[in-house]
Symmetry: C2
Subunit: 496 residues, 2 copies
């Protein structure tokens, strides 16, 4: 076994928020990029590595197959897995500047979430105090209702009615975060192989929920407008897929979609709703609106939610406060027709009885006290600057041939490199220089997105954003200038 | 449509903690028992009732079929559903004493949980304050790890190691309550039609999680020792079923099982573990120990947990604080071999990313501060008296021919009536006299438990327990004395 490998793997934590397969993948990429694992090195057998560390074999298998699709290793039947995309010589001293031995790069465009510095800690403390000192505290300790803490449910319903998002026939289900919303939908509408149409690229948690439940998940090509255009989605593709595939669910993120950052225009929303109304009648298709980012709008006029524009009465809307204020408090909700919500409530009951009540009460009090609006305004101010700085830097630093989206809100910008480049190979080089991002393939549904990547800007200071994108621009340029097959990080010929 | 029905249905709440189908069932039973719905009354069509109230048709359908199996209504093909088990004459004034128009009977043996009066409200407030004032508060707002809040995980692991429950190869996954533990197990080990062996009778949430996931769920007859004996489980039946059915999972509640209240003796634990070790080698069977009630021991010496006695290294243990202190805070956990926990963590991630962090921190601080032990001691004192009073009253009030278990802890006593009686029909009469309980059929897996019922005593004052059991004793006696087919609540002949 390759000894230097141990150093990289000691710190892996199956309990981390990042899946073990992904951690392992990142560490092995790093070990290859630093030259600690050189071409020709044989990796430990999957079974061996798993049992040495007490990990599941699946996690190791997944990490190895990602490395193979990165072009960094190659499996030879009966012989094992060998490093092929690393350096063949020139050992590198650990700790050399610009080569951090940590997967947390100095400038991380990795996670689509606000900076910890923006968390409303004082407001959170004050809100908690109000909740625990109130007579409500006794109710919080009670076993709760599967549909949610009634004062929160009623408050959401009332505000949603005032905004036109909820109609008379609508009801609310409080979920343990948005992810559980997807999971419940997947159980109720996707567990018998039903077809579910989702955007491609898409947030992996959404895709995984439907795939693991057993749905037939199809990716709707987003027709991402790049190079500065702000256009509609690929409505023609949607029409074709609805007619051909008769999906049970169509899941869209009309505002500041993750990972592309793009929104549907009002006209596109209308067109999509017409198609959905038709599909609802013909095939029973239900539209699910993932509304997680819509409050984070930095430019332009806010657009009506599709749920508010919908006339079928069947649309469901999912959201939570986690992107705005409280990622660690798992409170999200769904709004939709009473009958649909009733089915989801029955599923919720089997999942976890009900959502944690302390956090439901805190979230309600945070909104009621006016702190939510105040905090949201602050977030919008701060993130607007970060988006603007990010787009300016992309414009300035990226060489011609690199395209990117121009979002008006949210937390992400989507970048497309020339077709022959592989973003996950570039991710290794970038990490090597202290910058991280998520390669496009993590967001893939039916297409590979090999030459695309996501930049999540909301957690970084403007200066970090400028610096990070400058580094990325240099890497992109160098890679584009290199002869097609001469890049040092592209797969070398087999060495065994 | 039957007009008086409306009065009963107005208050139903699809958002309540009780499933709508169950609420509707209770209300209709009440309406029949009070005489407001008399024999021959036609119930509204399922579709009509569902659409009038905006409920799901499934809920109404389920409630009607429960009523039919109660013998209270009968469906006639092409004609509709008619009341057959109510009164044919003598209308009753609403509000007459002893006929509460509320499904919350005055004396409720219905729910297996502590009285609200026992909730440690002041301690909860103090604990929350300590958590939010600590520097930890900032971490709570962060997106967390799917395996759980690290300080809580480490603390559970350390305590479990000290108790011999966790070995060197074990790890911890924090779940959103025990119910989620069952749900994750069902997803990972039961979703492809695998065989899962559970106790029969059993807590319905456990059964439902595996059944809905698609497992082949088989009930292990408990061989419940009644009439005062404290015996082992039906080990012979377990041996036969392991050999014949090759289950993937065997889920047992060795201490104070819900609903029977019974425990496995140390000898029985040993025998079961020997059988499990054999099945583990031959069929890959994994033992799951539901340890929810073991801290609530009122008599006798505590028994070692099966996880601590197990030598296969494969056993999983599930528990939470919800029965002791915080039903509304959804924090439970599982302890098991690292590889198994890793698989469950991946499933957890897709379910809801991670368990709420505020509540995890509160639960940790409650334990760390010593408040948990103090509160547990108090609970044990109070509940010991309630159990003793309950068993004394059963002894005094129940006629010969009614048997019941003699638990040493937990929250439940299981009662068996003579074979020809139907506990759900008696539940109507009891509710009519202000006492409620859950009929055995709710806990059924492979057997009907028609003549059995559960008394949950922990939430009632001693005086209420005495009074309630006195009333039940009278009802049982009257029913047993009645001519076999002459009971007024048994199904009458068709009236249409």
């Amino acid at each position: 076994m390759a000894d230097p490998l141990y150093r990289y793997l000691e710190g892996l934590n199956p309990g981390s928020e990042v899946l073990l397969s992904r951690q392992l993948h990142e560490k092995l990429k790093l070990a290859i990029s630093t030259g600690d694992l050189k071409n020709g090195t044989k990796l430990p057998a999957i079974r061996t590595l798993a049992s040495q560390f007490g990990w599941g074999r699946n996690a190791v298998d997944t990490a190895y197959s990602w490395l193979e699709s990165d072009g960094l290793v190659q499996q030879f039947r009966g012989k094992g897995t060998f490093v092929v995309g690393g350096e063949a010589d020139a050992p590198t001293a650990a700790g050399e500047p610009g080569r951090p031995h940590d997967d947390r790069a100095a400038i991380s465009f990795y996670a689509s979430r606000p900076s910890e510095l923006l968390f409303p800690l004082d407001e959170f403390r004050a809100t908690c105090r109000e909740v625990i000192d109130s007579p409500e505290a006794a109710h919080i300790l009670q076993l709760g209702a599967p549909a949610g803490y009634e004062p929160l449910r009623q408050s959401i319903l009332q505000v949603s009615r005032e905004q036109g998002v909820a109609g008379d026939n609508d009801d609310v289900l409080v979920t343990s975060g948005c992810q559980q919303g997807f999971d419940l939908l997947a159980r109720v509408y996707g567990s018998n192989g039903e077809t579910v149409l989702i955007e491609d690229p898409v947030y992996p948690g959404l895709r995984d929920a439907f795939q693991r439940a057993g749905a037939r998940v199809l990716g709707l090509p987003l027709g991402v407008p790049l190079g500065g255009e702000r256009g509609p989605m690929n409505v023609a593709a949607l029409r074709r897929m609805l007619e051909k595939e008769h999906p049970r669910l169509l899941v869209l993120t009309p505002s500041f979609q993750n990972p592309t950052g793009l929104s549907l225009t009002e006209e596109a929303r209308r067109k999509v709703l017409d198609l959905v109304a038709h599909a609802a009648r013909k095939f029973g298709t239900i539209l699910v609106e993932n509304d997680l980012y819509s409050l984070l709008q930095y430019h332009g006029a806010p657009l009506a939610r599709m749920k508010a524009m919908d006339r079928t009465g069947q649309t469901l809307l999912l959201t939570s406060f986690s992107k705005i204020a409280f990622p660690g408090l798992r409170v999200g909700w769904m709004i939709g027709p009473r009958e649909t919500i009733a089915r989801l409530v029955e599923a919720k009951y089997v999942c976890d009885l009900h959502t944690d009540q302390l956090s439901q009460a805190v979230v309600l009090q945070f909104a009621r006290s006016g702190r939510l609006v105040a905090h949201l305004n602050k977030m919008v101010e701060v993130c607007r600057e970060r988006l603007d700085v990010c787009l300016e830097a992309c414009h300035k630093e990226f060489p011609a041939g690199v395209e990117y989206t121009i979002p008006l809100g949210g937390m992400n910008v989507w970048v497309r490199l020339p077709f022959h480049l592989d973003a996950s190979v570039l991710a290794v080089r970038a990490s090597n220089q202290g910058v991280s991002f998520m390669a496009g393939k993590y967001f893939a549904v039916s297409r590979s997105h090999k030459n695309e990547l996501r930049l999540s800007f909301a957690g970084l200071e403007p200066e970090q954003i400028r610096k990070g994108i400058e580094i990325l621009g240099r890497i992109f340029k160098m890679e584009m200038d290199a002869p097609r097959n001469g890049s040092r990080l592209e797969p070398a010929a087999a060495v065994v």
